[in-house]
């Protein structure tokens, strides 16, 4: 019986060794700017790291800090919030609220042992597909260096 079980276990070990760790990024993108940029990146057939799962929201100001906390708890290795540049918010000041929330939330998450690099806030305009590409690639590389967050909770 033990012999019969041995091969699959070995196979699993070699598989984890060979496959590179792929971080999971949850991205909250504002409908008017960053989501449009990701659309443009798609239409322009730009290549970037496939590690990001996008949640489209109407405004980056809609990102309640509890969404971010929930994403980490549920297994995200990183969270990326994308909004319009300061002054460009479709709803005038949603992105400023997100900016201030991010400032507190980032400090708080570090107290929980979640590194600063795991939560990013970026202003990416609707035509900034290139910027989106470099941001996602950079964040993926950063997270690969940090390793899995693998949140287990209490």
């Amino acid at each position: 019986m033990a012999q019969a079980l041995a091969p699959p276990v070995q196979a699993a070990q070699t598989r984890t060794k060979e496959t590179e760790y792929e971080p999971k990024i949850v991205a909250f993108f504002c409908n008017w700017c960053t989501y449009a940029a990701s659309d443009l990146a798609g239409i322009s057939r730009m290549k970037y790291a496939p590690n990001m799962k996008i949640v489209r929201i109407m405004c980056s100001g809609r990102v309640d800090p509890s969404f971010v906390v929930e994403a980490f708890r549920a297994g995200a290795d990183g969270v990326l919030i994308g909004g319009c540049n300061p002054g460009d918010c479709h709803y005038k000041e949603g992105n400023y609220k997100t900016m201030r929330r991010y400032m507190l939330l980032s400090r708080m998450l570090q107290d929980f042992g979640i590194e600063k690099e795991r939560l990013r806030l970026e202003w990416i305009c609707a035509s900034c597909a290139r910027e989106l590409q470099t941001t996602v690639d950079k964040m993926t590389a950063d997270l690969k260096r940090l390793g899995p967050l693998d949140w287990k909770g209490v």
């Binding site: 906390v69 400032m103 909770g153 209490v154």
Partner: protein, 324 residues
Amino acid sequence: MAKPKVAFYWCASCGGCEEAVVDLAEKVLDVVAAVDIVFWPVALDFKRSDVEAMPDKSIAVSFINGAVRTSEQEDMAKLMRKKSGLVIAFGSCAHLGGIPGLANLWDRKAIFDWYYSKGPSVAKGDGSAPTTKIKVPEGELELPLIWDTVKALNQVIDVDYYLPGCPPTPKIIGNAVNAILAGQLPPKGTVLAATKALCNECKLNETKPEKLLIKDIKRITHFVPDPEKCYLAQGLICMGPVTRGGCEALCVEGNMPCSGCFGPLDHTSDPGAKAVSFIASIVDVFDQKEAHEVMEKVADPTGIFYRYSLPSSKLGRKRMRRSS
């Protein structure tokens, strides 16, 4: 008819909740007239073996205060659960984890290292730390095991109702006792306090401006606030908008902003994240550098926003590095 039996127990707590029972003042006589107190370690000399000897579910209500952070507290909580019809988490620590829950920003090793060998007051000692078992000439002694993680009561046993507060106020204790005696209890799991935010019952609410915006965040030690004006409007962090009411704004009555001991409102997913959201929304500063300066003035955001609720928050504790 025999009087219903009532028990009190304390886990990781400061004794303030026991004090809250005494604070019922002469009303405690009414309570004692209506019920039999069968177990109350702080006041009456009953032992664990006395509780063990009671039939299951023979205690009508157990009020348990304090967070759970040792093996003994867990055992006692489970024993009380077995012997009681109703278990009520009494006070912030049992309800949400409370102040002891902030220890979840460290772990046992870090805490023991500091308090038994590295801290300035013990640095010259021999570094001996508590162990669960020790041999002395008289025999082997045993101490409970302290966990890495502090828990709220409902993370260890099934809890029927919650009395929030640090400590619960005489009024909400009285209401709860009356509801139990009259058999008019709300659905299981209810927090026995208000369902609206504290601002709703705060006397300073009418001084709150129509649109509440602040240019700066201050601390109570840095200036003398006007006790007749909404503290948030003066730039002090007051947890009123994200805290359950029911205490009748006692702290505000005592010229201090709310620190949030009644915990979050129903349906709040994460108390600290919600508080961050509300504070950041009312800061009326748009320049990135200036906003950064203002937000930096929130000293210790985790300690302020999760002051009473860290163990029952979504993340629950600081990340533990697991050795694979």
